[in-house]
Symmetry: D2
């Protein structure tokens, strides 16, 4: 039996471009039930040389320096966008209008109107879409979803979530696009908090209102020298540029289901490497995802005998369909890593495209995510509670 083919066009050669290229090939290898064979068809980058080099390195058949040719190429089925955030909108819109399915890294766009336009265009053109919110594709998040839907923790009462990193906790770390209102929008909120919001959307459902506050401690940073992103370095005598958005953010959240909660983010949390945490309580139990241990949950359930109620460490393994591509037997403790989660994303993406079902999380989810971020930012600037519009 031969699989259908799905021709991929990938734009962007950074860390995430490489991670996607890796994940397509691995999904094809690991998941025997994958409904289409992803073909690495065309790779686009800024110059012909870069494009050719990337195509060779990533294993693509063709390359182009003109992403517009890629998105309109009739052979391409799926356009995958891993370029800087501010370029997402134009590329995704062109792909949708060309009738392509689109997979875009988070955040979907840098402003709300663009996200809305993409979400509506995707519906109008009947294409399938996905945004790369990897925190809701971990084995632990997938297992938590099952438990909550099954009623294991009863009526939900509270959400507590944060994403802390410490990479910017140094006044000599150079200025980057992350510090620019225009290129990045908010600071730690959009960069890191967006992931926590995605978990809240996935596991808690709609947010009714938000109240936020923020602080910035490193108000200028030296202009960047070599490298970029996390790898940037700076001449310490370089001119210092203004940091235009917040280092850390805290918010109160009220959910439509009646639950309350907090969502926080920081890029200057000293010593935190990949500091994601979320905790959901209900009338019948509590679920905690602690730190980087995304192969496991801590679960307490009131179904259990009171005499030995306690938090149990449960590995997400064969309870989660997507896990079975990796091991096929219960070896959950052995553990998936960061890159494996991207393979799960690709699996869900391809199954969604080939199915009658939709992909998840789609552009509508990305738009909702952006709506919440915008409301949080608005709450900070207007100093009041903002209600999310329906």
């Amino acid at each position: 039996m031969t699989r259908k083919k799905l021709n991929i066009g990938l734009i962007g050669s950074g860390f995430m471009g490489q991670a996607h290229a890796d994940a397509y090939r691995r999904a094809a290898l690991l998941y025997r039930n994958l409904k289409a064979e992803p073909i690495l068809h065309t790779f686009a980058d800024a110059t012909p040389e870069l494009a050719a080099e990337g195509a060779s390195r990533f294993g693509f058949l063709h390359s182009t320096h003109d992403w517009k040719k890629l998105v309109t190429n009739p052979e391409i089925d799926l356009v995958d966008i891993t370029t800087p955030n501010s370029m997402h909108f134009e590329m995704a819109m062109a792909a949708i209008e060309a009738g392509k399915h689109v997979y875009c890294e988070k955040p979907l766009t840098v402003n709300l109107e663009d996200a809305k336009a993409l979400s509506e265009a995707a519906k109008k053109h009947g294409v399938k879409t996905m945004v790369g919110f990897n925190n809701i594709k971990t084995p632990s998040a997938l297992l938590a979803k099952q438990l909550i839907d099954r009623g294991d923790i009863g009526q939900i009462t509270r959400f507590r979530g944060w994403f802390d990193q410490g990479f910017f906790n140094d006044s000599d770390m150079p200025w980057s696009w992350r510090c620019s209102r225009k290129l990045a929008g908010t600071g730690s909120l959009g960069d890191l908090g967006a992931h926590v919001i995605s978990v809240a959307q996935f596991l808690m459902g709609p947010i009714e209102s938000v109240l936020g506050q923020e602080q910035t401690f490193f108000k200028t940073r030296p202009a960047p020298g070599d490298g970029s992103g996390y790898k940037a370095s700076a001449d310490l005598n370089a001119k210092r540029l203004d940091v235009e958005n917040e280092d850390q953010f805290q918010s109160l959240v009220q959910f439509k289901n009646g639950a309350g909660g907090t969502i926080e983010s920081s890029r200057i949390a000293a010593g935190k490497v990949f500091g994601v945490y979320w905790e959901i309580s209900g009338t019948e139990g509590t679920i905690i995802m602690d730190g980087e241990r995304f192969n496991e949950l801590k679960i307490v359930r009131y179904q259990d005998d009171k005499a030995d109620r306690g938090f149990k460490t449960v590995y997400a393994g064969s309870q989660v369909e997507q896990f079975n591509g990796f091991f096929g037997f219960d070896f959950a403790g052995g553990g998936l890593g960061y890159f494996d989660v991207k393979v799960i994303e690709i699996y869900d993406l391809i199954q969604g495209i080939m199915d009658s079902s939709s992909c998840f999380p789609d552009f509508d989810f990305g738009y909702e995510n952006q709506k919440i971020i915008d409301a949080m930012a608005q709450s900070v600037s207007e100093k009041k509670r903002i209600f999310i519009k329906g």
Copy 2:
């Protein structure tokens, strides 16, 4: 060399009364440098029989059913109040006016005016006072204070703290004084959040403004049958009474030092037993007190070599003066328990009384604590940020 004597008058025979009686005797035994010998002089309870029985059980020399006689007895040096919260004010005020030093369990009072009046009266009468905020007398809190004062974590950027318990996460748990506005004031905020606020006062300094929200999921509870407090039970057919205050509370906090943060509390956090957590970040490091492990801190410091920066588990032992009464050598991992922390309180209380220095935390601290709780409650009802008055 013989120690001076300090005659104690204790009011209240509950769990906390017993804990105090235990702690006086132990402080005298464990701390050779204790500046006065606490004499268990007079014990007061509601009836002559109860008073006599408590005096016998707790080891007091005398007993009375009339607390007013106790507070005015010229032989008494220190009045210790462990009665229900709503009785604190009258007793403490009478004791102050009689020129006694006063040790009062938290919360100082159930309303702000009373707390203020007590704080002012204590200053006017020149007596020493202390409020039983035991969360700032743990070895970990005392060590954290040292580290922060020494500058180990640089400029403080954020506080995150909560106190979660699950004892009320059951709709059949009977109504208690904790559910009454009149007897308890706020719900989880005043009962549990007050402790987190005390930690924030101790380690972070003054709070500038707060923004709170709250939720109540168990809106009625059966009238209590036998027992009271944590030990109460109810007939499930009992009449259901209204719960008048919040089950859970979340807040945003802005500190005078520029740091931001969150403070939360819950009495319905499923599965949490003694769920205290606090985390303080600064430009040079982060300190975490995680769960019930109050003998230790998790510390990361940027002084350390970057190549192996990481959270270190540090036991609070002989770095902390108060620890040395217990072991006299470094055996921190062996661990102090809940009751030992009360002994530290008594040690600090007696040293403060006998010293030229003041006791800590005094009634002024308790008044500040109440001011913050009130501002948080006001923020909930007025749906806006409240600035704490100077």
Copy 3:
């Protein structure tokens, strides 16, 4: 209702003497169901001055510098021995022969014959005895016993246990009695391993055979200057004395019930403070007591649904009778400390004395413990497996 009185005679003013004095008074206060009131009757120490000073500090009515008078005083019911190990035998034997109940700190004696003689004498004279093995009086050990007896983990298959401390991991730490064959017998085995053996005796039952090996890395130490025990310091130019026993010890153990296992100890385990660990597996589950967290167990049980089998953190609280003296409600996470465990010992001791039942662990248990230590030491010197005699 008034309790019977039980007159206590305590010998020894060190850390452990103080801990016992503290624990008698606390047991009387905390346990309302205590079957006798312990009266701190007579305290003995080496000189009249020391004895008087200790009696005053510890709250005893009388003092003596002649322990023989104490053990034969007809008013004394219970003799409590906290002197250096090499003095235990003579004192305990004299007390037994005087018809007193005897409570002796571990180890019972420094050689096997003495332990045997004491065990036999106690039976002959019909007195009750107890040895201070505090590791089997922790809430976690008491809970583990319940679970195992109830069959929760099925047929036992393996024991893994160690006690690691790092206090001697420094070649400049002075020589002490712990280094002497005559005063201490074995090194880390008898000092620390004895506790692990006590846990194995309590939870696993009889040991059939043992195979040991040992290492010593610090072969000499400077003669001690001021202080003693953990608090000793030395002049670094002091003469270096020979260390006569092992720094670390490892053994294979075969239990009568068919299970296998390992028991280890070290006094030079760098960085370990109070490093006790034990783990028991059976055909239906595993129980782990990890580190200093003696208020909790990690438990996995095959009774639980396979889909979320995992290690659960269970606090030992009201499931354990002895816990209820402390809190009276489920507050296990709040935690008992090292000193509270001594109170549990005293409770079990007094209940055992007043009951028709025996005390546990008695001198027979202490003799068994010594038998196993001796067999382990014999295995090292004879380089072969040693079978424990029945």
Copy 4:
């Protein structure tokens, strides 16, 4: 610049065959400094159909049902063997004799003579070899090696290591090759203990002598039905076959460097999923690799100030060369998973082949590993300490 090509011939289509195929492609993608491009040249499996299907699925250019043709094909540079253990010897020997480099999964062979013969043949023919001991390719093991070599923990005093799994802790789990002396040799020792031994070889150096004991609790198992390995199921009425090797194993180990230690393994450790643990103490510190957290170490060092000595959680990231293929920036907490460790193996393999240096761990290492396992088994059967021959 174009890389040299390295033609791979892979034998075996099981879980491990797939993991290797995945890892070659990923190593080529992730490591820009990889010294040769691995070409998936020929895949061999038992029948032409299986071979063709595997080649297609794994991405190989050619296929064959005759592994002998693969190993003698002049185009093949590296033969990769992932077949059942009992077939390793014949295939590896043929490959060596054909002058190929050989990469073989662990264990190298099922008996010692074969391992010796392979090790000698590889030297004689001057080919490079590697055995798939993945536990010494984790970021944590690589970091521990650096620390120990640098002297961070001083003179090594003790090793403690185990590998526990619970997959066989059920009498209805069917019999498999793992239960057969002929097909597997020892039981949990060779299957799981071999990994711990590899860590000891890597981090501790040569073992001088061993003393072992073992237990088997599940003495028969039902004949297997469908599936095999971890995925097998059985008809519960199936005939029961004898289990010929041990369920669990414990040993005492004496190292050439003077350190002592224990090595244990179990396949019936209830509730353990991937229960690897190792701990190394020295005169200047201790290193712990706890559970499945192979991205991190717990480290204590006496270089640190005594006042806050404590175990520090250190992520292995850019300190480890091999990590940098994955992230290129410090994102260690994000974490590598099981499959990523195989990519590190392939990286080290290819660099070793292309270099003047040798590969690590080579067949000599595998032979040493087998020598230790054999000595442990011999110790069990002869009931005495066995000295490892030089």
